[in-house]
Symmetry: D2
Subunit: 345 residues, 4 copies
Amino acid sequence: MIKVGIVGGTGYTGVELLRILATHPQVQLTAITSRKEDGLPVADMYPSLRGRVDIAFSSPDKARLTECDVVFFATPHGVAMAQAPELLAAGVKLIDLAADFRLQDVSQFEKWYGMPHSCTRVLEEAVYGLPELNREAIKKARVIGNPGCYPTTMQLGFYPLLKAGVIDAGNLIADCKSGVSGAGRKAEIGLLFSETSDTFKAYGVSGHRHTPETVEQLQRMSSAKIGLLFTPHLVPMVRGMHSTLYGRLTKEISNEELQALFVDAYKGEPFVDVMPFGSHPETRSTRASNMLRLALHRPNDGNTVVVLVVQDNLVKGSSGQAVQCMNLMFGLEETAGLMHVPVMP
Amino acid sequence: MIKVGIVGGTGYTGVELLRILATHPQVQLTAITSRKEDGLPVADMYPSLRGRVDIAFSSPDKARLTECDVVFFATPHGVAMAQAPELLAAGVKLIDLAADFRLQDVSQFEKWYGMPHSCTRVLEEAVYGLPELNREAIKKARVIGNPGCYPTTMQLGFYPLLKAGVIDAGNLIADCKSGVSGAGRKAEIGLLFSETSDTFKAYGVSGHRHTPETVEQLQRMSSAKIGLLFTPHLVPMVRGMHSTLYGRLTKEISNEELQALFVDAYKGEPFVDVMPFGSHPETRSTRASNMLRLALHRPNDGNTVVVLVVQDNLVKGSSGQAVQCMNLMFGLEETAGLMHVPVMP
Amino acid sequence: MIKVGIVGGTGYTGVELLRILATHPQVQLTAITSRKEDGLPVADMYPSLRGRVDIAFSSPDKARLTECDVVFFATPHGVAMAQAPELLAAGVKLIDLAADFRLQDVSQFEKWYGMPHSCTRVLEEAVYGLPELNREAIKKARVIGNPGCYPTTMQLGFYPLLKAGVIDAGNLIADCKSGVSGAGRKAEIGLLFSETSDTFKAYGVSGHRHTPETVEQLQRMSSAKIGLLFTPHLVPMVRGMHSTLYGRLTKEISNEELQALFVDAYKGEPFVDVMPFGSHPETRSTRASNMLRLALHRPNDGNTVVVLVVQDNLVKGSSGQAVQCMNLMFGLEETAGLMHVPVMP
Amino acid sequence: MIKVGIVGGTGYTGVELLRILATHPQVQLTAITSRKEDGLPVADMYPSLRGRVDIAFSSPDKARLTECDVVFFATPHGVAMAQAPELLAAGVKLIDLAADFRLQDVSQFEKWYGMPHSCTRVLEEAVYGLPELNREAIKKARVIGNPGCYPTTMQLGFYPLLKAGVIDAGNLIADCKSGVSGAGRKAEIGLLFSETSDTFKAYGVSGHRHTPETVEQLQRMSSAKIGLLFTPHLVPMVRGMHSTLYGRLTKEISNEELQALFVDAYKGEPFVDVMPFGSHPETRSTRASNMLRLALHRPNDGNTVVVLVVQDNLVKGSSGQAVQCMNLMFGLEETAGLMHVPVMP
């Protein structure tokens, strides 16, 4: 059994980790930290876990994380990098669900996250945790920067097209929509039910921190310089993410050939579902599961390919992907603990 | 492996059966019928099942249900009773999620469901499938009438009080609220998003068919004559049911003693969670799981006890309970395939 | 034109006052205070008011409220009573949307609101602002305690029955459901979209501050001692309130006679709609309007009458009712500025 | 008073017309037809109209529409063109909320709507009812083709940019999102609450009938050939539409100049609100009102301008716009009956 610790388990990615790990056959949940909730049984904060998770929060000093095999950080940006050296020195592997180890370009990190990077030596060895594109490196990694939710959809959606060099890499558009849980469990007016229900809006249109992360990764797929316009929107739903990706075709290519690029790229992938050409995936078809589904369109048979990508932002977009990485890092079945059937309706 | 057939798998209880059975370790999904969708892969209708359920719908005549060990009827009222004799004769067990085998009082059935009961001989041996109150009979049953969703909450909520004889059995009030999926997957104006979102209403207040079913069962718990006023309401949410039960106390009893009645009644029950006195259970704490949670209140320390009961109407309120019955009928672990952790948020 | 001031216009009842007053033909919006938002145009906080409300927030010291004819307090409990004496001395009338002037029983106020009442002299002359039951007193009032949202539905729903003496006044049950906006515009985890959407729960079941307010008013309608059990619930919708009221009949009375009690009681009332016996009013049928609708049921022709009452909690349940009081206090048409047609769907 | 008739008032655009016209100071609601609901008071179908609209549905033969001054068609496509000649001959003006008189290119109409156009002579004189771009023609029109909801946002959003010739007209992208009421009041599985709540999807991505309508109108603004990629999505909300428009800049232009293009274009327009550069309009800021709001962005100071446009799809996107046209056609104040303040929250 792998001994697992969680730092900062009071947010949505934290409780989602708990939901997944509670039924993972090879995991022993060992410690979960919260300075504020020290001593509180996890199930008292999240009644959904009553009878299923027996552990209590403990303050960081008591938590003995160094005895774990792996520690997940479901914390605000900046926490993981502060604790990484000590844990690594103790032989503990580390998966950060925040941004500390996502961006190799430190200046971009510091610009978008508004803090100095205190741990660039660890950053250098950190591996970007997107298994479909980075599986072998993840297997050997000690430190994982778990991808952002939006970036996961953009990368898996654009990858086969960029790799084949059939679209204009300098003019990518990603019009993305997320459920409200993506904003986290924070006491902010803007996230109240009465502020977000029965309405729709864009946010961060002039610039969003998921752009540099995505561009850095997309650039690895293409020799041409990546230009990405990313527009996030807030949808009145709890979970779910839908990205509508637009790529201008630069080569003659049939719809069948486009589809084949995706089918080939994701053959055998347990968590990427390439739907038939012309499908309209719904976010709920992935709800509470680690599946990402996508489908291609070519409107009016024109020169633009549209990729529709859906996932559950808290699973494949965050905690599920982190567990997928953990499975790889410890030589487990990649799908262990992750075979939930999506909840529909 | 138990060979399972499903009749009428195109509605919400049908797809929920599929979701549960797809990961049940001792079940082989053998046949699913739909006259209209003959030949259509189940996953084409429900993309959430892509890659997880490979079976296709087949018309009833092709489905070879008599080769199954058990057949679930996720059909409109009246279908199961028409097919029951042939299946039973072939040694197939039968679990009906509709009302055909719920009411032993045939005249009540005929009054509320507007059709004659064509199969009273089978009805006689049918067992009411509420495991917490009827476990031994279910183990030996060939035919199960799976309880209605509302009745499950009312029975489990009133049972310890009636059994102990501490409330006025003749004046029970159940103010119940259900998510929209409880109304089924039917093309009706009244169930449209634009008709049911951001609004709330009662329905069927003057009389509802779940009343006679519940009264018949509650009467088994009490020597006094049961009087039940049941008021259903429609909540703008997909899944979830919340029943607020009111009982007038007829005896001196402390809050601790009240709580003890429930703790004792449900000790060891894997799917009934008695929360601390004064708790407010939320429906989402049971979402997509087979758990039912309840909590007691005694407002202003008066002479009325209030029981708050929540469940997922499609799981403990329907398909999960049916699988729980199946497990009992075949000597499996009662919790097999039913240990989903509730999805929250 | 009546000069109107608003204290504390940043919450939902405040912005709703603005929406209503913006088109009121006899009102001049003169001042709106917010210490925190001093100088901010109201329309910058609420873009829905762009082009329709030109006023800016000003700090209380600059607001010159004493020059107004009437001041609304859309503030937390305790603010109005602190400012009442000065305003009254300046000849300004005052309508408090919070609880400072609702409860004549000061000990009850202090028990439930956890603060001493600093202004009992003003409280003595304060009038409870429910026009249908208190119209003449409101006309002459200088100070109005605007009713709570739940109490409005309970009083208008029980009134004809209590007045006629046909139900057991000592055993009233009110099972009430409110949209989330009723909890106000506060940065609290429990009010987040991800915490309240797609779920349902009761709250405050053991005791809620709207009980003593309602009991005090109901007691005025009945010589028998009032006993009220009030259970509030939270519905995943923005606006709307639905109260399901249960009264035990103590006299022989036909359904027609019951209906007539209500028709007679509310004849000519512009904002109370007695629907046909057996109707199921929906909250949305009152959305964004000052209408309250109700309908009677007698389930299974038994000895309990059920009254279903719906309103928009922010209009008839709060700001609209306050404007209705203002109209009466200044001799205007009672319906002035309040004839919005409900928004449906 | 203008005598108004409505054909087909049972859908959402019909009831929205009723809501608006019920308080229009210069309108007398004369007739509303429904073959199926002949004799039913409108308020029995829509309780929100109880006490506010007294008229009953009548069958088309009884409705005496020829005595009206203007008739609105809130009907499926194809109905208005069948009745237009007779009404026009009787001197009745006509506003069609469906597509019969939107597209001057008959072949496009026939391709996308799957029916022959039976009335091309009337089509020739029909005026496209977008007042901001077509005001003078509307004033003189006898027949109005009321714009589609999506096309309204796309035209008003792209117009100042195309007119100024600063974007690449051949590569416009419109990523649009609509509330569910836009799909109408139809008994279809895909529109059920349980199918559309808590989920998000695109639809009609390969081709949608609002594309040719929009292209035909945009072409009038630009000498360059229009190329438009339009992607509609379904949002789990009742009302509201958000269009995210992307235009590639082809000229050096500052953000201030871009903003000025819009400010100038819509100066004095009562129903178009140009928000400050960089704003994020929410659909709810227009709810139940005739306002359309838009804001400009230039992400990462790059070469793409993004226009965010919001409206209420049932008001400015349909029935409100139709009344705005009526006001112009009859020489009334353009804003008469349309000054509702948006309902927020």
